[in-house]
């Protein structure tokens, strides 16, 4: 009997481990991470924001690179509407040297990032979110201090060629939120580079 109970407990806990990370509709926790300018940033610093577009991205991944210009354009357009981009590099530079803090500073400067580019040095924030790859997008809405996950997935339907995009999942989701509506599409999948950890 004890063995059965133990087995049940193990099963339940393994399911709980697998279910880690946010789903659409979950409330999200704030975080505090170091930006490329050396200052620490939290979502609570943005008192005027209506929400956030949290993008796990990095320097080395070709999919992340393919989306850099589109992320900059998005931020320019939507920051003033109340949905700023917050980019986070979740990778361990011991595994991918190109994704070091210095590498992030360099890449942000080269590309002229208009948004904060934060370093998840302890690799805790991406785990909380449940991000698995770069780029991986989470749209959060904000009601007073409560953050709610509204969309998880990809930016659009063509990683290769911005001019051939026909569906803009991220813009559609944020446009809906700006009209006080729930996004029609709340979850999409995309090819990406797995997040790099030592474990």
């Amino acid at each position: 009997m004890k063995k059965v109970l133990l087995l049940c407990f193990l099963l339940i806990s393994s399911v709980a481990i697998m279910a880690q990370g946010y789903k659409v509709g979950d409330s999200a926790e704030d975080f505090k991470l170091k930006n490329i300018d050396g200052k620490h940033i939290s979502l609570s610093d943005y008192s005027d924001a209506k929400g956030f577009v949290v993008i796990f991205t990095c320097n080395h991944c070709p999919y992340a690179v393919a989306y850099e210009d589109r992320i900059i354009d998005f931020d320019k357009k939507y920051k003033k509407k109340g949905f700023p981009v917050i980019a986070i590099n979740p990778n361990d530079p011991a595994v991918v040297p190109g994704d070091s803090f210095e590498g992030m500073q360099k890449r942000a400067k080269e590309k002229g990032f208009t948004f904060p580019y934060l370093f998840d040095a302890k690799q805790e924030v991406y785990k909380n979110f449940g991000a698995t790859k770069t780029p991986h997008v989470y749209v959060l809405s904000k009601d007073k201090s409560k953050l709610t996950v509204e969309y998880i997935g990809t930016i659009d339907n063509n990683y290769k060629d911005a001019s051939k995009v026909s569906t803009r999942y991220l813009e559609d989701a944020v446009n809906s939120l700006l009209m006080n509506k729930k996004p029609e599409v709340t979850y999409t999948k995309a090819i990406g580079c797995s997040i790099k950890t030592k474990g």
């Binding site: 991944c61 997935g153 339907n157 999409t188 999948k189 990406g192 580079c193 797995s194 790099k196």
Partner: protein, 162 residues
């Protein structure tokens, strides 16, 4: 005149041979064209791996697939490496890369940038992070997200053929 013409043809043949030597002709396909590879109903066990040259864990595990290919050479096991590489001279770069790494399994290029439309068809649980591997024989199927080892592959293949 005849001589000159012959020389001319010889030259063309030589040029085309040397061009072929530079880059293998990988099949480039969209998901619809690749799809039948996931639903073969014969006695072969298929190992299909999604990878790319720039993907570090993918490159690290390539020798595992090559090892499987060799040790199951006379058994009904087929390895298919689905490359998601894109950009300029991709075929040429792939040829060089595979030669350098001594990888001889079949490689196809999947060029289907609307990935939300097909990732879930490969496996419901896959969200698109590379690498990923499907092992199947008829209706028996197992999906692996992330890096895989020789022993995991061998165990799965052996289980399907017990």
């Amino acid at each position: 005149m005849m001589m000159k013409q012959r020389l001319f043809y010889l030259l063309i043949v030589l040029i085309s041979i040397s061009l072929n030597g530079n880059s293998q002709d990988f099949k480039t396909m969209d998901y619809e064209a690749l799809k039948p590879s996931f639903h073969q109903q014969n006695d072969t066990t298929y190992v299909i791996n999604f990878w790319a040259m720039w993907c570090k864990p993918c490159v690290e595990e390539l020798p595992e697939f090559e090892h499987i290919r060799k040790s199951y050479e006379n058994k009904k096991v087929k390895i298919l490496l689905v490359s998601l590489d894109f950009g300029s001279n991709v075929k040429e770069r792939l040829t060089k890369f595979l030669k350098k790494k001594n990888i001889n399994a079949e490689v196809v290029i999947l060029d289907d940038p609307d990935s939300n439309a097909w990732i879930g068809k490969v496996d419901q649980s896959w969200d698109g992070a590379l690498p990923a591997t499907v092992v199947y024989k008829k209706e028996n199927r197992k999906f692996f997200a992330g890096k895989i080892t020789y022993s995991e592959l061998a165990e799965t293949i052996d289980n399907f053929n017990r």
